[in-house]
């Protein structure tokens, strides 16, 4: 039986032409500084106009007090309980760079790192090396390593110091602990099976050999002056296999599309069966014009679109209140282009809060607004304070897809 709300959605969903736009302003929830949050301080005429006719509420992403990572926050938004569908970060990263993992593959997220002479970690990010150096190192490592103990090992650049390791062989398990202790001053950990299964033992053994072998290759590259002296180790985390999630196509009877530029968000949207719109991903950052161009060209192929805005979170993580406010204003400028698609339902919220004062993800409930012809308009702005006590009340992210579906008149009556 599928967990809430999927089983109910599978039972009640109707295919129809009505359109749902889900806008995720990453990390949008905040705390007031001098009485105002970035959402309250930003000048957002377009958002204000839409909000006035919307129902508002405060939504808890996962559970009260729980600070979600981006993966769990997004899964909850899409209606997939992250406490049930526990997806390894390595899997999300692999999907995000376009790999479609199969049942014989195990993915891990990896960092190039710097160890001191005594083996303790000096820098978990090897001085944040360039993506270009990352690509050269990955090419060399792929040439040198190939197979370990009959297991194919392939590496893929993510960006800067980050890459993805994909193992492939029959009888490989995915339940293995991480090598990255998460802080400097400690030694990398040996990876271990977290079950009794021989398949997990095998994965752990191969990954431990991989870490050793990689250190040797990196040593050779440094001697040949083909690397940076501070790149002398790799750290692995988020090891796992791709879980088989029910597709949004089948559960919600939607043709879902995703408009996101960053790998992580493309990955999680593909995991639930969304099609990533073909965005020009050259360059770095938000790439809003590219996203809007893809949206304009391809939105009509879908009846559900997820539009992701990353920079609100990035400025929150940097503690930059004004930068976050400015990103909200930039989003406001692009809102009319999104509404040109003429969605029947517009749902705007975030995957988690990232208060600028906290410089980190947080547990605070997210402001949420649902605009539709069938809403109860609250006549307010889209701010944390205005969403408090709105028509949607206090809810959970898992409740949002059912509400969007209902407002799009895509759910049949329950019972007679």
């Amino acid at each position: 039986m599928l967990p809430y709300p999927l089983a109910l959605m599978e039972e009640l969903s109707l295919q129809s032409d009505s359109r749902i736009l889900l806008v995720v302003l990453d990390g949008i929830g905040d705390l007031p500084q001098d009485g105002e949050t970035p959402l309250a301080a930003a000048l957002t005429p377009n958002l204000d106009e839409l909000a006035r006719d919307s129902s508002l509420g405060l939504s808890t992403a996962v559970l009260p007090g729980v600070t979600p990572g981006s993966g769990p926050g997004h899964l909850a938004l899409f209606g997939y309980d992250p406490l049930v569908f526990d997806v390894a970060r390595g899997v999300l990263s692999a999907l995000g760079i376009g790999l479609d993992l199969g049942p014989d593959q195990v993915a891990a997220r990896a960092n190039f790192a710097t160890l001191a002479d005594d083996g303790t970690i000096l820098d978990r990010r090897a001085g944040r090396i360039s993506t270009e150096l990352n690509e050269r190192l990955i090419e060399s490592l792929n040439t040198e390593i190939g197979d370990i103990e009959g297991v194919s090992v392939r590496l893929y650049t993510e960006s800067e110091y980050r890459f993805v390791v994909v193992l492939e062989a029959q009888d490989l398990g995915g339940t293995v602990s991480e090598s990255d202790p998460g802080r400097v001053g400690e030694k990398p950990l040996a990876m271990r099976s977290q079950s009794e299964a021989a398949t997990d033992e095998r994965t752990a053994a191969v990954l431990n050999s991989f870490v050793e072998h990689t250190a040797e290759v990196l040593g050779d590259l440094r001697e040949a002056r083909e690397s940076d002296p501070q790149v002398n180790a790799v750290l692995l985390r988020g090891i796992g296999k791709k879980p088989s999630l029910p597709s949004m196509r089948n559960v919600f009877r939607l043709r879902p599309g995703s408009v996101a530029a960053y790998p992580m968000y493309r990955g999680v949207s593909r995991l639930v069966g969304m099609e990533c719109l073909p965005i020009d991903l050259s360059g770095e950052g938000e790439r809003t014009p590219n996203k809007l161009a893809a949206y304009k060209a391809h939105a009509d192929e879908h009846d559900f679109l997820y539009f992701h805005v990353k920079q609100t979170d990035s400025y929150g993580e940097d503690g930059d209140f004004d930068g976050k406010k400015r990103q909200i204003e930039l989003f406001d400028e692009s809102l009319p282009a999104l509404l040109d698609w003429r969605p029947e339902v517009v749902l705007i919220t975030g995957d988690h809060s990232t208060p600028a004062s906290l410089k980190a993800h947080s547990w605070h409930p997210l402001p949420v607004m649902i605009w539709s012809r069938w809403g109860r308009p609250d006549g307010r702005r889209f701010t944390e304070a205005d969403c408090r006590g709105g028509s949607l009340g206090s809810l959970r992210h898992l409740d949002l897809m059912p509400l969007a579906m209902a407002n799009a008149q895509k759910l049949r009556k329950y019972g007679a």
Copy 2:
């Protein structure tokens, strides 16, 4: 697997120096009389100042419409689902008077009572006899009774008409029905095993013999003029064994302490692994100065403190609106002394509502406030009406510990 939220808390909790103060104003929730509840009518300058900078909400103790006893209400506040951890009232009473029940012990709560000649109950409390008479009767009964069918039977005074019965033997069950029908005009019930187990049959048989034997001894004492003529029976309820609850130390990685004067609350706090601060318990009633003295002397040994205020409930039970209001004002006077501990998080609520107009516990959601540096201040007072539509929204008592932990920055992120 531990029930919500304990498994998640066990996974995410971090030990740190930050401090959480949980104040339980027993039975604080009320209904308006002439438009105001006791909280609204009370003059509470200290509470008002703290509330202005706090996040507010309305929290349901157990489930909507469910009127909790003090045990379930407190367990929910501490994060222990009372629908899962079903603790017998006899066990709570036993723990409350300082008995540390073992696995071979079964406890029951007992009343001295008055039966009519036809065996029906005239007074479930035997005219609320004095604690002094209770102590004399218990001494005689302990001398006369001793063992029944190889089972040790010990009685302990609680206060006034209330005492605790503790059986001890191997192979004693704890799943037995009560003798107290809960109302006058009916006859006491025979206690029965509520399972097929011989161990439960044995406990029921011993307790039924105990009730008979006690009536004989009380008859002898009345003839010898060593008792009050209206004490001629005992009624037993809340029979059970002490459950093994996971300790707050292990689940939340806290050093939890309890500041409560009444046995019941000391009992329930010990059950979840709190250490009772050494309060001078001589005298009766709230004993606020004694509690504050213990708090001042020992608070620094803990990073989580539960401070209990009983009299708000007592005046509610008596239907005394003004008395309840006065007790709130007295608490307000002691609030600065509590804040001297400099907690990072202050959580104030109750274990259940006790509306003065109802003169009893009720199901109404409780006003709750969380003060912390990381809150969203609602700028209001701590009243039922102001908590409505606050930033915390509608929540459950089980959500409160996770929120307090999050605000104290004692929880790591969930997922990546």
